[in-house]
Structures are given as C-alpha cells and as structure tokens.
Symmetry: C2
Subunit: 208 residues, 2 copies
C-alpha cells in the first residue's frame, strides 16, 4: 500500500466510512457510489473520493465501489483487520461499564486487562476478567504486549498512570478523565469528556 502523508482529518473519517459500509453490507447491498455513501455519512462524494485517493484506487467508473472490497481495504488501512488487545485502567462505574460493553467484540477490540488500586475492587469479576492491582500493571501489559489503554480513573491519578502505561509500551490512550495529559508526541491520545461536549451544545440552546 503506497501511502503518501495523509492528513489526520482524513484518517479520522475512515472509521465512519467503515462503519457505514458495514451497515450497508448488513442491509444486503453489494455496491455503492461515492455519493450514496456520502449521503449516509453526511459528507460529499468529492470528499470521499479524495480521501480514498490517498490510499489507492478502489472504485470502478460507472459502477462505484464494491462494498465488500472497500470494507476489506479500509480494514487493512486502519489495521482493524486484526484483534487489538486493550487494557482498561480504573474499575469504577465507568471502567466496569466499558469492560462489559458488547460493542467492542466485533470491531477489532479485545478488552483483556482491567486494573484498579482499590483493594476492595481487586479480585472481583467483571465479565470474564478479574480486576488486577495496578502494581502489576506495567508487567502485565508488557507480558501481553498490549498497545492500547482506556483511562477511567480519578483525574488526579491520570497523568502518573499514563506515564507508567507509556513506560510499559502503550502507544495509544483513550482518556475518559477530564485531565489534559502531557505525553511524548508519538503517543496517540484521544480525549472523551462528556462535559465539554455538553457545554459546546449549550452555546446553541435557546434562552429558556
């Protein structure tokens, strides 16, 4: 796959395309044009064609794209064509809810480790996992070659824990705490904070 530099804003859209294509496949469709796909995703045909052109030529003039083939290609590009082991750090309400979340299994994600520092939580079972103590976190992550982690712990502990994770070989962190993490820039970080998203929407709400 010859890949020139791809803007991050393009990479961000690929999972959306993939998800929509999977949905279309489930509906029994076989072929889709850039415009039909764009309508479903909420973008333009030109943008989809441009985005895909960073990675190769996947369509046929006159007929569009084979859904099955395009799914396969996008999975390769995003490296979703394998199972990634992911560790959840923090076994509070949110950490346990995510560990139990059914939506990961079919989409390339295997939650395989769950940690907490609360002795009252260590040892309990969540789904098929047993909560482990953070003391063994670095070792466990190295042993299992885990590359991604989800942070669901109190924000006071977020930075220190993230540092340990990076030291243990974690390359991507999905941060559910309100803390802004300072990490080497080769580490991928995504931040989820429902408060920030709700506040953005408040701007657009009518008075009373």
């Amino acid at each position: 796959m010859k890949e020139k530099f791809v803007p991050d804003i393009v990479v961000k859209r690929l999972p959306w395309y993939l998800q929509t294509l999977n949905q279309m496949a489930r509906e029994g469709l076989h072929t889709v044009s850039s415009i039909a796909l764009a309508d479903r995703v909420g973008t333009s045909g030109a943008q989809i064609r441009k985005d895909l052109s960073y990675f190769g030529e996947f369509g046929k003039q006159g007929t569009g794209y084979s859904i099955y083939f395009l799914i396969e290609q996008l999975q390769k590009i995003l490296k979703v064509d394998r199972i990634w082991r992911v560790s959840v750090v923090g076994a509070g309400n949110l950490g346990r809810a995510l560990t139990r979340y059914q939506g990961f299994a079919n989409r390339g994600i295997d939650i395989c480790l769950l940690f907490d520092n609360d002795p009252g939580l260590v040892g309990i079972r969540v789904n098929s996992l047993i909560v482990r103590h953070v003391d063994s976190m670095a070792d466990d992550i190295q042993d299992m070659k885990v590359k991604m982690a989800i942070l669901t712990l109190p924000s006071e502990a977020a930075q220190a824990t993230a540092d340990v994770l990076v030291g243990a070989g974690i390359q991507a962190i999905l941060n559910y705490t309100p803390a802004a993490l300072m990490l080497p820039k080769h580490i991928q970080v995504e931040h989820i904070d429902p408060v920030l998203q709700l506040q953005r929407m408040m701007y657009y709400l009518g008075e009373e």
Copy 2:
C-alpha cells in the same frame, strides 16, 4: 454581547479554554497572557486572541487577561452560567455509570431524569434518582422543561427514542450509541463512540 456569526470550530474550543482557566484559578493564578493559556491548552496565542475577539475585548495590553473575569465571560457566552437539567435515557451499565458520575455537578449539569424500558430496571435507585419507564418520558421531559439528553441504550432503539425526545422539546443530544441519528438540523447532536476513536488511533500504531 454583540455576536457576529461564530464558526463552530471556535465554539468547540471555548469549553477547553474555560476548563483550563478554571484549573489555573484553582492553582491560585490571577492573570494569564494569551500565550501562557495557549501553552496549557495546546494551541497558539494568536488563535486564542482571534477566538475571543468574536465575542468582545476581554484583555488588557501589557498584562493579559484576568482569569476570574475571563471565566465569567466564557461562562456567559457558553451559557454555562446556569444549571442545565439533563435526562439520561437508558439505565444499563453505561447510563447508570454516567448518572453516578461526580464530574457533572460543578460544571453546570444536573442529571435529573433517568429512563429505561426494562421493567427489571424501572424503580431501582441510582444515586438520588429512581429509574422511570420510557412511557412517561415525553411527559416528564416536558414537565421539567429538560432541553438536553444523553442516549445510552441499544442502538436499535436510538433513532425512535431520539425522535420522541425531539418531540418532547429536547434540543441537544449526546449520543453514546453507535447509531448515526437523522434529526432536524436545528437539533444539536454530539456523538461519542469509543470504537471510532480507537480505530483512528490504530492507523498510527506500529506493526507488531
């Protein structure tokens, strides 16, 4: 507050500024320059000055911004200077975890309603709330004049439920399901899907 049209990308950054300023206030700081704030947020001084200029003049040449004053102004702009009642729809693991989340209380958000359609969940207590049946959802939301909702239910039910919410006067929806919602464009929607964020990061992960 004279407000020309403000690009959404600017509005999206305001909650970040607000959060960082609050953090600085907690650290005992009183004044900040655009560059000092930018360093903490991870942007540039020019961008912060430009963004703020859409709403007015809040700084002083030579000294920068009063943190306290700027927090006050941003809260007004975002309408975070009041408490917004929010309904959680779906009392599964994630819905209960969000209802219990401590981070909402001090940041302008009051989770005041929690719904489910499972008779086994209706009536149980989560924090100080009792799970109500979705049958009364439209009425309850209208009675309490709730304008924002958080969707944490199976994706099959997401669209139909969102339609009911909009009918009941909901103006902003934070969607935790993988479903893409089709709603009138005056309705604000934010989508949180950890799978999409993890997949984006997979692109950047090294092979093995």
